[in-house]
Symmetry: D4
Subunit: 256 residues, 8 copies
Amino acid sequence: MDQRETTRLLRQVAAGEIGVDHAVQLLRQAPFADLGFAKLDLHRGLRQGISEVVYGAGKTSEQIQKITAALLDAGQRTVLVTRLDAAAAGELRTTVEPEVSFEYFSDAHIAVVGLIPEPDGIGRVVVATGGTSDQPIAEEAAITAQALGNEVVRVYDVGVAGLHRLLAHTDDIMGASVIIALAGMEGALASVIAGLADCPVIAVPTSVGYGAAYEGLAALLSMLNSCASGVSVVNIDNGYGAGYLASMINHVGAAK
Amino acid sequence: MDQRETTRLLRQVAAGEIGVDHAVQLLRQAPFADLGFAKLDLHRGLRQGISEVVYGAGKTSEQIQKITAALLDAGQRTVLVTRLDAAAAGELRTTVEPEVSFEYFSDAHIAVVGLIPEPDGIGRVVVATGGTSDQPIAEEAAITAQALGNEVVRVYDVGVAGLHRLLAHTDDIMGASVIIALAGMEGALASVIAGLADCPVIAVPTSVGYGAAYEGLAALLSMLNSCASGVSVVNIDNGYGAGYLASMINHVGAAK
Amino acid sequence: MDQRETTRLLRQVAAGEIGVDHAVQLLRQAPFADLGFAKLDLHRGLRQGISEVVYGAGKTSEQIQKITAALLDAGQRTVLVTRLDAAAAGELRTTVEPEVSFEYFSDAHIAVVGLIPEPDGIGRVVVATGGTSDQPIAEEAAITAQALGNEVVRVYDVGVAGLHRLLAHTDDIMGASVIIALAGMEGALASVIAGLADCPVIAVPTSVGYGAAYEGLAALLSMLNSCASGVSVVNIDNGYGAGYLASMINHVGAAK
Amino acid sequence: MDQRETTRLLRQVAAGEIGVDHAVQLLRQAPFADLGFAKLDLHRGLRQGISEVVYGAGKTSEQIQKITAALLDAGQRTVLVTRLDAAAAGELRTTVEPEVSFEYFSDAHIAVVGLIPEPDGIGRVVVATGGTSDQPIAEEAAITAQALGNEVVRVYDVGVAGLHRLLAHTDDIMGASVIIALAGMEGALASVIAGLADCPVIAVPTSVGYGAAYEGLAALLSMLNSCASGVSVVNIDNGYGAGYLASMINHVGAAK
Amino acid sequence: MDQRETTRLLRQVAAGEIGVDHAVQLLRQAPFADLGFAKLDLHRGLRQGISEVVYGAGKTSEQIQKITAALLDAGQRTVLVTRLDAAAAGELRTTVEPEVSFEYFSDAHIAVVGLIPEPDGIGRVVVATGGTSDQPIAEEAAITAQALGNEVVRVYDVGVAGLHRLLAHTDDIMGASVIIALAGMEGALASVIAGLADCPVIAVPTSVGYGAAYEGLAALLSMLNSCASGVSVVNIDNGYGAGYLASMINHVGAAK
Amino acid sequence: MDQRETTRLLRQVAAGEIGVDHAVQLLRQAPFADLGFAKLDLHRGLRQGISEVVYGAGKTSEQIQKITAALLDAGQRTVLVTRLDAAAAGELRTTVEPEVSFEYFSDAHIAVVGLIPEPDGIGRVVVATGGTSDQPIAEEAAITAQALGNEVVRVYDVGVAGLHRLLAHTDDIMGASVIIALAGMEGALASVIAGLADCPVIAVPTSVGYGAAYEGLAALLSMLNSCASGVSVVNIDNGYGAGYLASMINHVGAAK
Amino acid sequence: MDQRETTRLLRQVAAGEIGVDHAVQLLRQAPFADLGFAKLDLHRGLRQGISEVVYGAGKTSEQIQKITAALLDAGQRTVLVTRLDAAAAGELRTTVEPEVSFEYFSDAHIAVVGLIPEPDGIGRVVVATGGTSDQPIAEEAAITAQALGNEVVRVYDVGVAGLHRLLAHTDDIMGASVIIALAGMEGALASVIAGLADCPVIAVPTSVGYGAAYEGLAALLSMLNSCASGVSVVNIDNGYGAGYLASMINHVGAAK
Amino acid sequence: MDQRETTRLLRQVAAGEIGVDHAVQLLRQAPFADLGFAKLDLHRGLRQGISEVVYGAGKTSEQIQKITAALLDAGQRTVLVTRLDAAAAGELRTTVEPEVSFEYFSDAHIAVVGLIPEPDGIGRVVVATGGTSDQPIAEEAAITAQALGNEVVRVYDVGVAGLHRLLAHTDDIMGASVIIALAGMEGALASVIAGLADCPVIAVPTSVGYGAAYEGLAALLSMLNSCASGVSVVNIDNGYGAGYLASMINHVGAAK
């Protein structure tokens, strides 16, 4: 029950159209969402242009189809489905009405149902990777950020073992509004980029590597201990989370 | 050698006042900083109003005094010295000229030499803690953010074991531009706040707790696995890093 | 050899029907169970209405069938078989006589052979989960508790990232006799529920999550460090153990 | 704002004594505490007869004195101060009015200000330890349980290396309402006791041991993996938490 | 070159049948084994009656066949092949000459080629397990010990959760010469047995369990921290190593 | 209640001197110790010639004195007090009667009160260390073994970095009945010795080392994974446990 | 932009052929690669005789073929493709022109396209393994070193459990220029070899082992804590890295 | 017993001056050291010009003095004493004869007794650090390398957060014969330097940092997973080991 509905209810009480006891019961039963929390969600939907996100991993193809349909019915202009394999994406596509746009990004394992909005963030989101194996997680971050209304610049395969590759992109890095730095193995990319950049850096450790990489632990610890300021870290392989946060940062100020 | 100096040098070359070979040598000897990197630092200084930071831990009192003096001589309007104990702060104060403002925040273990700038960020930075033991790290974050030009709202001791304490601050949380959430033990605060908030949340695990808290590891893992979107994590007890990053986010858009 | 049998033996000795040496030998050979330990087991069976539990994992289909048959032959009214896959359940069903009730709960991977007793606990057992992926373990806990004579209330998918979902169930939580809180990822649910509730909370970390969730370790540490009082923890994914313990707690006072 | 207050407000709206807009604002501003959460705390206080707990670790002597005084002023009949060293206890004693009872348990590091209530639980709480080094944590658990209204039976130094010591207490164990089992090193005590007992067992790993005991980690893992049913675990050295939970379990049914 | 061969060589030198330079060269070329190390191996073979061991894991079926043949050719009366699956065992059997005894123990995954010697140890080796899932590793230990000339008593499924099962075997435990205690999960069996027994206990943590059992780590740490004296530990699931060591201990004194 | 007493009781029942109900009660109350367990302890004392051990760590000087006096009063001919610092040893000495032998081994931190028995084991116990820093733990092992009736040969500072130092002691190693191998850092000594020896090797990881030695963890893991047969491991720095176990092994066969 | 180009630019400025502002912009845009970094790579290629390396893991067969072709087109005389399975190797072979030499080393999982250069290092590279299971990683190291121009001596299966096997190769070890020591399980080989050798030892922990070997962690820690001087460590199973580094060391002095 | 002595013995046998049995016994007793191992040590001393190293940690001042004197008496021209505090160094100085050179490097905690030899390595050893806190370990490495006959170039405080500081030293890095890279926190320096350099890089993780740096673990894992070729790693804070290994590499080719 949002403010408008609460006001209407109270007007009905004031007008005697509804009894006090009944009103008390209605207020009590109103989910907490009505007291402000659900508004958050609506607010987000409005601001971000229409995107809502479905986490596909661990859900059946049918569940994904139903949730997507429900969101579209509820008026969502764009629905993002992450961690979706190609087969489930193919099935999902057949359940979407023809007039609704549908695109599946196989690298990112993301389907975007509906239109990707025009970028309306403050600046550009740079997505940088240490090696080609980091690309699937990087694309998850990049497509997420794009689908939430951000211009994205990809700077891939610029690991610190060949510093000139990274330095050749100095302009991109210095011109970014927020940077997502993904790396496995020793995860040094985040520190080096943060030393060059002048904006927040979201570090994403990836599970790329073997042996003492410990499925991303080495990169995670490395990134948490970055000697450069302005770095924060998300979970191993959490491309979606990085893309979402980057969009949030790139819309700070526009958010209220 | 920054752009202005490079321009002047080239003008001298164009005017024949300086030989080509000599100019080549000057350009070569110019530290790499002159090719763009140092400009970053100057840029930061300019944008952030004057603040430069000295990490006091592991430095002698004399070293801190010399670095501070050098920064002030170089024209810095404000110098932040972190992880500074009271004794070293007292000694530092005596070496600063009387007309320079000096304030020591004992909870935060930070000295601010020079004036704290007026807040010029997009919105407010909320600093929230789970318990009273998190306060020193929280103050490190808060004073850092203030000294970098941010309005800070403190929401302390709102751990999830008494949810009403947190919910009483819903307005602060929903009105924030960026939130720093500090917690030890199980570190659940970051997830709960991120579920309520509509802005980036910087999670700071603290080493508060005992036994299986493992000096902040439990909180660190908890925060990295937050089921809420928009959360990223810095190192255990890294209040300064959180404050610095919060300021960066709160100035995105103003940064270029 | 229980107290009744011991008494009978001694009467035979007193009556000279049995020699002293023979009696000494009988007493010595009596398994320790006869000295009280086996009585425990019988006591449990009696009190809990007849349920005995077979842990199905790592047992062959034939082993499970034989044990179940033996327990039923021994007079057990209800046999619970946990961690049982659908195929083995199907085979087990065919070996049970038609007049014996048989139900397989596929989510919980539990078969109940015989009748589920009427609830006779002190109050209700609430089973709460953070997300839908926790459901199989939650059902293992719930069916176990039901089969041991407890009324169970399910409060699923109330993770702390959307606090209003949890708060909408405040009445269930405050009215519980004992609560089982299951969560993966950061495991914050247990702390938040324990802050709201007024009864013992059994926390079950689940292996839901990825990366730094470390197969339930993050949730485990989080739950062990709960800042709320009244929380204790069982092994990762140990739904059965939580259900069993919840039943014990819900029958305290009725137990002797 | 609770149900009664909400009803009164709505009556004022119905009666036209208060405008709709004003009422909407009041409903919005009502702290969440008014929706039932703060009542929880009062409820606890009432039920438990009067005990409120102050965690002394990390608080100054002055802070402890002020909090204790405030709680007594608020009508608490008994205040429990845990993790309190002898010096701070001595200072606290001098600030308590002479007519208020004061007792300091030096082994447990707990001060009880006010009267310890008569036991009103369902049965007895047994506190068992593996060795003499576990005693301080055991006393923390025992005194906590006593101060919350429980009869406590101490069964100390019954480690599994000398099984006869434990078996000599079979009656205590079988007659308990709830058992707290504390052990360091290999932590086997909890499993052995749970195999003997017929009631919930709260396992407390202690940091007793050296080398690969890893400050309680070995005992913690051992207890989490207990092959006996009915065992749950609290944090390493968390005697208070075990005592509090034991009291909760021993009052289940009496709780509402 | 063993002592006998060295003696013969020196006699030839003394007799002038072989030149000094040639003898020096022969002594230098003699593999280090000839200087004592190989004698160890022969000594072992002699004492242990004939057994030599082939570790089958990671070897191809052909490699195993060749090594076995070579050992038999070299005069070994018995060859033990461990970690051998049924298929490879079947193939190995076909390559062994009909007059050579061949037995494959499928639980233990061990083939014994040649005759198992008569027990000639000091006493009996007791092999005890906590649960039925530990049986394969227990059989690996038991068959190894038998094949090395020991009488073995199996005491299976005597986990501490039902102490009476273990206590019923007190005579076996107290009469053992050496005990191998295998357990997964919390691994408490080793401590309890060592508390009862009067002989060396070799603890074998098994990878039985789930969640925080961490593939045997919980049992390993538990066993390393046993509060009972006389316990030592081998690697997780190392049944062969335990059986070999038990045989060594059971032949101490007979060894020289 | 042992067999003799049980027989007497039954005779009284048979003779009508005692009622059946009373006899049942007596049999139920008989402590488990009477069923054989306490005899174990006596058996040990008799066999080992008189040694009983007091673990001094964590006990006050007074506690140690009282326990020692009680043991001597109970007829123990020798009492071993381990982990005893020099000051407490000095105080203990003053409380022992002049006619009782007293020796304090400062390296081993062990006091022996009473006479060290003549060696009566099967062979010699060799105690070998990797470096001089392992010596205190090695002495704890050596003195323990001596005090329990074993001839001990010390082979110190024979770490594998200088293999010739170890090989110079080949005779000692090959002639041992049981070997205790202590090493910190990489702990390779145990494997190398077990490869040379023909008897059980008890590996003791020590906490010697720094950095990635992790207080003995590196040596512990190394020793658990020894590629040589016949090695088992005790807790880090557990010299006493190794000495005790070595004595047990060196008395196998003599033990019953 | 290198020195020659910078000189030319400045000459143009001096000559007025290019404006100052334009020149400033050109200097700013000069990619860092122009400052020498790319030249590094060329330098390497020249010195090492022609070898370039493609890491095959995680690349598609097509990607590998394209990269290899591109490198050959660019004039590389030899291309090394590591972590390549037999199927992909077969496909790669078909895409290489007949006149180009092609060899696939199935043990090492390496294909060498082009000619392996004549050895031109300072001395010999010895590759030693503890057991036969280490051989694939050892071959990866050996083939890498050979393909980079080194003479390689293989000393396989010389684990420390049979020291004589290793000592029989003393001449190889003492005559090496650099040694690669590979071992799983307890990893003691590196220390023992370094104690014998007089040259750098590169230790490679392998994931051979089970249980507490923890996929190479035990060997890794063991090797990092080697008590012998001259040992350094690479990642678990990193045969390629060891071979590459060994070649570097074996060409020191020849490198400039 | 070396070749010459063996020849003499055999001649005596041939001449009948010594009996066969006696000769066999002498050959058996010949310490392995006589077979070449001790010669290794002498070889090292000769080649390295005279340096022998005493590890001072854990040794008493007297022990250090005696060992140093013995080495000088044995003809060592230079003795290096590492991990020596200033007090012990002062005492050591007083025991060295006046004509022997003595220098104490307080940053490195190393005393050099005797003359530091002239550099005779192939090229220069570069020692680089990430921050000023790494300096003590860096100096340990640098002084060790100098004392073993190497020219050392120090490149300190060039952490990757300010890449221009490192790039300003490109000439030093590219001209090195071997580089020691020390860094704490995220340890990225080793990877970045190895990407720039053309020679072996010895990475030394330092325990600099806090929180999730875990006393050097983060840097250690980072360095082990370096994406650049040519990097190997020594133990945390092991400056001496890095300096020693660097000297070995810088003398490869000169070594035989």
